[in-house]
């Protein structure tokens, strides 16, 4: 400090650069950053062979970064790999890689007796497989030709289980962090509703009453209907509040606007179904087209996206899910009212009756929370299935990921994946 102050105005100070550039002088040792830089660049651009820069020209090299997202990442709904090509922070290409959870379930189902197929189907959805079990039951009933002879009470209970599963799944999806409307009340209501519905469904499916062909495996008492009925008004109030809040102030879910948008034509071509297709404005619902179980005597409303929203994006999908949950709760109330007057018989014929089906092919499709679940079974009269093929809604949704994500930003991947409600075991089988 003293030296600086002592410098007089106009004095010529020694130039440090000129001094260091003197010929013969030793070069200054590089600092730590210079030493680390090549290694850092190597790590950044050559992470294995997956993160490498690609492109034949220097421009392409500088522009697009090929990056691998997953298969294990806390933001991913299940082990899934997305190979993306980034243009800045925009996704230029998306290539989903599947199969990290492949269990060979179709092969496994061909190796066990017909009724043990229920245990295989339960592995399609580890959290709540009631829809998959019911789809298997429907396929087997069609194979034996007894799908019209199932007791009415059992059919109505199946509707209650399917709709409860739909509400539980919708609320589970809506309660995932990137999705709920941006108020604490709405978030709490969705989490609370999700937990309550899950509890009701777990109570209803305890002891696996739906793992049977031709009826229920064990009778379900009227008390169960009372128990569910008692919870319904509270659940309806919770969801109505959320829906009204969103309708009053649309900014609450504006953070999802335009994310993962897909047009109705592309969605149909990619085989989407369920809320993802209805969010595009296509009024398609398997429950309406094929009223199996007790759906024939109930009026199923088809929930479509608001046309003003343009539709097809994560926001429209979430709104469809919310409105569908409310509609399903109303449907459950109607079905429960009919269950009480539907007579006593809901038992399935004994399991011995289902050892060897007639020869032939049967198909079954159900509208699950994510979309159409389809099964195809072939029998050659043996005690085991000859062929089993399963196609769940998650498979079509994963196939549609490139169409939804290209053009979006890299940080939109998470809300888009969340809004689809993917089930990994169902996609990978």
């Amino acid at each position: 400090m003293r030296q600086i102050l002592e410098v007089l105005p106009g004095a010529v100070l020694p130039d440090p650069v000129a001094e260091s550039a003197a010929p013969g002088a030793p070069l200054a040792p590089p600092d730590d950053d210079d030493l680390l830089r090549p290694a850092l660049e190597e790590q950044l651009f050559k992470v294995g062979e997956r993160g490498a820069l690609t492109g034949s020209s220097a421009t392409a090299l500088a522009k697009h970064l090929v990056w691998t997202f997953g298969p294990v990442h806390r933001a991913l709904p299940f082990p899934l790999q997305l190979r993306v090509e980034l243009d800045g922070d925009r996704l230029a290409t998306v290539d989903p890689e599947l199969g990290f959870m492949h269990q060979g379930l179709e092969k496994a189902a061909e190796l066990v007796p017909w009724l043990e197929g229920f245990d295989v189907m339960a592995r399609l959805h580890p959290l709540q497989p009631v829809a998959h079990e019911l789809c298997w039951a429907l396929a087997l009933e069609r194979l034996w030709g007894v799908d019209g002879a199932v007791p009415r009470r059992a059919q109505l209970w199946r509707v209650v289980a399917l709709e409860l599963a739909r509400v539980a799944e919708h609320l589970r999806v809506l309660a995932t962090p990137p999705l709920p409307p941006a108020t604490t009340q709405a978030r709490r209501a969705l989490v609370d509703g999700s937990r309550r519905t899950r509890g009701l469904l777990d109570g209803l499916t305890a002891g696996h009453p739906f793992r049977a062909v031709g009826g229920l495996a064990r009778p379900i008492h009227d008390d169960e209907a009372t128990r569910i009925d008692k919870e319904l008004p509270h659940l309806l109030r919770l969801l109505d509040d959320v829906a009204q809040a969103v309708a009053r102030s649309p900014a609450l879910d504006a953070h999802l606007e335009g994310l993962g948008r897909i047009s109705a034509v592309r969605a149909t071509g990619l085989g989407l179904s369920g809320p993802a297709l209805r969010a595009c404005g296509v009024g398609d619902d398997v429950r309406v087209h094929e009223p199996v179980f007790g759906y024939g005597e109930l009026e199923v409303p088809v929930v479509l996206a608001d046309q003003a929203l343009l539709g097809g994006c994560a926001r429209a999908r979430c709104r469809v899910r919310l409105q569908e949950s409310i509609a399903s709760l109303v449907l459950i109330r109607e079905a429960l009212a009919r269950v009480r007057t539907a007579g006593e018989a809901d038992h399935a014929p004994p399991a011995l009756a289902w050892e060897r089906p007639p020869t032939g092919m049967a198909t079954a499709s159900l509208e699950t929370a994510g979309g159409e679940l389809s099964m195809l079974v072939v029998s050659d009269g043996d005690a085991r299935p000859s062929h089993v093929r399963i196609r769940g809604p998650s498979s079509a949704l994963v196939a549609a990921l490139p169409a939804m994500l290209v053009g979006d930003r890299i940080d939109d991947v998470i809300p888009v994946l969340s809004s689809l409600g993917l089930v990994g075991t169902e996609a990978d089988r």
């Binding site: 085989g271 009026e299 198909t363 079954a364 389809s374 196609r391």
Partner: protein, 209 residues
Amino acid sequence: MTGHAGPTRPGREAGHIVRLVRNRLGDAAVVDALPHADGDRLVVVSGQLVELITFLQRDPDTDLQLLVNIAALDRGPSSDARAPRYDVVYHLRSPRLGYRAFVTVRVPAHEPSVPSITGLFAAAEHMEREVHEMVGVYPEGHPKLRPLLLYAGFTGHPLRKDYQATLQQPLVAPLDGHHAPLVFGPPPGDAAGAQGALHAPHDEKGVQS
């Protein structure tokens, strides 16, 4: 927000698609046609598949715009290589009219291939990849054929009838084994026993000696 579809729309009666196909494309367009309550079933030869599916997708009366699934079924090996061994079932549905159709192609063992329909349905791309890896039926004209659920080093087609479920693969451990596979005789090229423990035969309890 909610659009109500009104009263339930039941699907068309069985035989609707069969009649339309016979009227518009002629009797020669299909090998066999079976009206069915859960969706009409059509059997077609491989060469006429694309024409038939194009008609089913684009005609406003059939309107089967949704490809639900492509399932390949293996009947198992037979002594006659020219006999049909695989059935490839195309499952189509109309989201507007609400009915289904199943189009089956019978594929012989000596030439396991079907024409790709990725030009008609984008959904077919993943499904045909799966058909190829699982059953080994080659979709001719697929833009980018590679495994979907399996990996590049996987050998064989798991959903074929002659594929053993217990077969060991490079990345798949044996199904029933928490121990190394049973090997009889001395391991090849290993006299000193450096890897002897890996190749040692098991005793009755499955424990390596």
